[in-house]
């Protein structure tokens, strides 16, 4: 049907009939919509599946083979971070180094993924947990026990393993170890 839109040719009756037909098709559209399946997800009761690359709460990867966290405490992630979220305490030196503390203040985090991209050791990742809101500010502070895969148990084992490795290294090559430490200092 020809649209009657210009006011010069305005004819109330034709305009009305035109309006009624378009109204009919419009009502048909809304009627179909009425019976379409609803797309609402009733959030607290139902949840949408989290996409595999979702940027949620961070986790420090647990290496089952080496019985330690992958993190060596190199601070590349902390340097990559634009908002200064990450702070850590390094444990030991050299190839067997690790972390004893790893704290993230998610109150400052903007979930930009730069720390994950910066990490050369596959140590830090972003996980699927997204319910991070809290009523207290210090709840945004995530310590190593909250971040490590496997929790407190993993952190304890991680420190044990690293201390054992460092001790073995010391025993095998005490001079070189001391030398390299001195070299670092100078």
């Amino acid at each position: 049907m020809k649209r009657i839109a210009t006011d010069e040719k305005y004819n109330p009756l034709l305009y009305f009939i035109d309006g009624l037909t378009t109204m009919f098709f419009g009502m048909l559209v809304t009627w179909r919509n009425l019976w379409r399946p609803k797309i609402t997800v009733r959030y607290p009761y139902q949840r949408r599946p989290v996409p595999p690359r979702y940027r949620g709460l961070f986790y420090l990867k647990w290496n089952e083979e080496k019985q330690r966290l992958n993190c060596v405490g190199c601070t590349l992630c902390a340097q990559a971070c634009p908002t200064d979220v990450i702070s850590m305490v390094k444990l030991g030196k050299g190839t067997n180094a690790g972390v004893s503390e790893f704290t993230m203040d998610l109150g400052r985090c903007m979930f930009c993924n730069l720390c994950v991209e910066a990490c050369p050791f596959d140590a830090i990742y972003m996980g699927p947990i997204y319910e991070l809101a809290s009523e207290r500010r210090d709840a945004a502070l995530f310590r190593i026990t909250d971040l490590a895969q496997g929790g407190e148990e993993a952190v304890r084992k991680n420190i044990e393993t690293i201390q054992r490795l460092l001790a073995e290294e010391e025993k095998a090559n005490p001079a070189e170890s001391a030398h390299s430490a001195g070299g670092h200092a100078s």
């Binding site: 109330p12 009502m27 809304t30 919509n33 009425l34 379409r36 609402t40 009733r42």
Partner: protein, 328 residues
């Protein structure tokens, strides 16, 4: 139920009047809760949402909670408002709605006041709604409210004419100004809607009813997106609730009036008369809501041109048509 209680109260006419007034007023306050719930559900479903869900089964108590919230809210009066008119406007709106319900027959015998000029009364009383909207808009001392109020008056007065003319067609056809009389005529002779002149009258009435209760596509007086909800912008708390209740009760009433005029009121097989009245009313309310989510809002000049250039002449011709066919 009414049969058991009525004889006791009828010994005391004043008390009986009081009881009926209280029942009607509370009905006018309660029915919007149901209508608003239906509105929100229909709106949700058309938009692929679920609507209210949490308060009560399927969210049925959501509107009750909203009403309670409005009761507890602060009553704010703008500093520059004309206080007297600002205070009474919502009550005039509400009273006009209650008065319309007064002559509405829900089932045989279920009418607060059997009036032989009920149709005239309804038309007269419903115009008070326009007065209240203008009062609210003007006394708020707010440009949006004033614009909303003025638009409402222009629109409601324009659409009142074709509406009354289409109602008159029914009156001439059935030869009665009493709503009970009109329904009883339809019980005997079949529903009015099946007769050609009344069919046209019903269509005109439907369009005018949409305009009268300020619903899309004629919701200019309270256009949220351009007038910040128009005449009731400055109202809050209980006064706003009265406007809101009156609007949705009017929505119920105008469909109940249409059911009485065109669809035989309580007439229908198997089910009790009361159920038929409510069934017809809610089907029509559903259609109103369905229309609400379909077309966009019109401009004020389009609305007025449509009323004066098409609806008034057509309803006048239709009235002649109805008189020619109807008067015995």
């Amino acid at each position: 139920m009414i049969g058991a209680v009525a004889p006791f109260f009828q010994q005391y006419p004043l008390l009986w009047t009081f009881v009926k007034a209280v029942v009607l007023a509370s009905f006018t306050l309660v029915i919007p809760l149901a209508v608003i719930w239906v509105e929100r559900k229909v709106a949700g479903f058309i938009q692929s949402r679920l609507g209210p869900l949490h308060v009560g089964p399927q969210g049925t108590l959501q509107t009750v909670a909203d009403a309670l919230k409005l009761l507890l809210k602060e009553d704010i009066v703008p500093a520059g408002a004309d206080k007297r008119f600002f205070y009474i406007a919502p009550y005039i709106a509400f009273i006009s709605t209650v008065l319309s319900f007064m002559v509405l027959p829900f089932a045989p015998g279920w009418v607060a006041l059997e009036m032989n000029v009920a149709v005239l009364f309804v038309i007269g009383v419903s115009l008070f709604n326009v007065v209240s909207i203008l009062m609210a808009g003007w006394s708020s001392n707010n440009k949006y409210s004033l614009l909303g109020g003025l638009r409402a008056v222009a629109q409601l007065l324009s659409y009142e004419i074709p509406m009354v003319l289409s109602v008159l067609a029914v009156v001439f056809y059935t030869g009665s100004l009493s709503l009970t009389g009109i329904i009883e005529y339809q019980v005997k002779h079949g529903w009015n809607i099946w007769h050609p002149p009344i069919m046209i009258a019903a269509l005109i009435y439907f369009i005018c009813a949409l305009a009268e209760i300020n619903r899309t596509p004629f919701d200019l007086p309270e256009a949220e997106s351009e007038l910040v909800s128009g005449f009731n912008t400055e109202y809050s708390g209980m006064r706003f609730a009265f406007f809101f209740a009156s609007e949705f009760a009017n929505n119920f009433f105008i469909t109940a009036f249409a059911a009485a005029l065109f669809f035989g009121g309580w007439d229908g097989p198997v089910l009790p008369p009361m159920v038929w009245t409510f069934l017809k009313v809610f089907v029509m309310i559903f259609v109103f809501m369905w229309v609400r989510w379909t077309p966009p809002r019109l401009r004020i000049d389009q609305i007025l041109r449509f009323a004066w250039q098409l609806l008034v002449p057509v309803s006048l011709l239709n009235l002649l048509f109805a008189i020619a066919l109807g008067v015995k």
